[in-house]
């Protein structure tokens, strides 16, 4: 398995190597050592590739990922897996602000906690957080699933569109137009599948579902207070 040591190899070269290998579609596996919180690691991968990062990363790790699996054996800084299209990003530790923002597909699997604005403007990505999430998570989320085994901070799902939010613990407060919804059999099934994919030890029946009340879809003067 090729090893890229960030003490010896420049970030630009690391990313160029990974991007070329992804494009070649050889399904190679790389290990990155000594990431030391570097920014924009393993970004823009477009092809099947497995990358293991031995440590913590800085901003925007695994952004725009397509088909690749990026496994961070540490914590991730702001904007991890931003605008992911497909593939999987696994964070063993915590993730900072706006994890999975604008993501369109794939699975972001955070084993620790995620900070504020997790899944902001998500557009089809699935995010599973084994710990808790911070305030303003899933703000303006449009599609996909956000699963939280722990608690959610203030203003969950503010100005939410069609994304599904599943929270097992407490929710500090719901944002504008976000409401608790009934857990129907189809939601239990979706959640069961997501928990299994993420390797999460939880029963789907323990979760509550939140979604959009759809009052803010069109401007209505009667709802002006909610904006």
């Amino acid at each position: 398995m090729p090893v890229l040591d960030m003490l010896k190899t420049e970030l630009r070269e690391v990313n160029a190597t990974l991007q070329a290998a992804a494009k070649a579609k050889g399904n190679e596996a790389f290990t990155i050592e000594n990431p030391r919180g570097a920014h924009a690691m393993a970004v823009g991968l477009d092809g099947p590739l497995r990358v293991t990062v031995k440590g913590s990363t800085g901003y925007y790790c695994a952004g725009m990922n397509q088909h690749a699996t990026v496994h961070v054996e540490g914590s991730a800084g702001p904007g991890v897996a931003e605008n992911m299209m497909s593939g999987e990003v696994i964070i063993e530790g915590d993730a900072s602000q706006y994890a999975g923002a604008t993501g369109r597909g794939g699975l972001l699997n955070i084993k620790g906690n995620a900070s504020s604005r997790c899944g902001i403007s998500m557009k089809g990505i699935d995010i599973v957080v084994h710990g808790s999430i911070g305030h303003m998570s899933a703000f303006m989320a449009q599609r996909g699933n956000l699963v939280v085994l722990g608690d959610a901070g203030d203003a969950l799902g503010d100005s939410l569109y069609e994304a599904r939010l599943f929270v097992r613990g407490s929710v500090k407060s719901l944002g504008a137009d976000c409401v608790e919804k009934e857990m129907r059999p189809e939601h239990i099934e979706i959640l069961r599948g997501l928990l299994a994919r993420a390797g999460a030890e939880a029963r789907p029946e323990e979760f509550r579902r939140y979604g959009s009340a759809r009052n803010l879809y069109n401007f209505n003067i009667d709802h002006a207070d909610a904006y």
Binding site: G37, G58, Y59, S75, G77, Q97, S116
Partner: protein, 295 residues
Amino acid sequence: MCGIVGLFLKKDDLRPRLGDMLTDMLITMTDRGPDSAGIAIYGDAAGGLKITVQSDTPEADFAGLDAALSDALGAEVTMRVASTHAVLTLPLEQEAEALAVLEARGLRVMGSGESMEIYKEVGLPKDVAARFGIRAMGGSHGIGHTRMATESAVTTLGAHPFSTAGDQCLVHNGSLSNHNAMRRKLARKGVFTKTENDTEVGAAYISSRIAEGATLGEALEGTLKDLDGFFTFVTGTKTGFGVVRDPVACKPAVMAETEDYVAFASEYRAFADLPGIEAARVWEPEPATVYFWER
């Protein structure tokens, strides 16, 4: 953006390495703020009051300054010069007289206290740290800042940390939106700032609350109610180290704690060389929550 670093030692064994560790943390944060850099370091008490002064013409202004001040105060004054800064040590009770003399001579007072020294200048963090020899300094705790100027001029006085009372200092990432109104409020109470900088108002607000009898924890709580805008504040006192973020908390912050130290930085990168960081508890401070450590 701005970059903040802070290191608070819980035990004494790392004391000789404080300046070295803080310098590395500060240099790592260079690309968050290349305009100016500063460091406040809490070293050994000198058995008196330490006043850090700055001059753009140090050769002329510092020559014989200790003797002149000694004559004016009728007491022994010692001086240590580091580039554009000088640290004067004098009897505690003569602070007001000494400050009047120093200001009359056109020197800029960076801060004063029994253990705190402040060094700050325009320029890259590595250059600023080198010119003052920060690496060689020991101490119990310190905070540092790399500035990307937004609210006021790129000058020495506009650099962080800001000190508005003895042994107190503050660094800030963000921008306050009600600093002019708060500056007027503080002035009505007789608290005056030296610059147009928003961060100095934040520092002065905390100092004035403490002067009124609040604990540092209460003063930091007060910032959440009385200051408007974006802020991550890191403060130092003679024996303490505090952190608070505004309720929106969009400015980055990360903390690490081991049995030996508590560290703060804008990004995890700044921790990469700290001893035992692999085993440290690393977390992001919650919004609108005060964190405080005391020796």
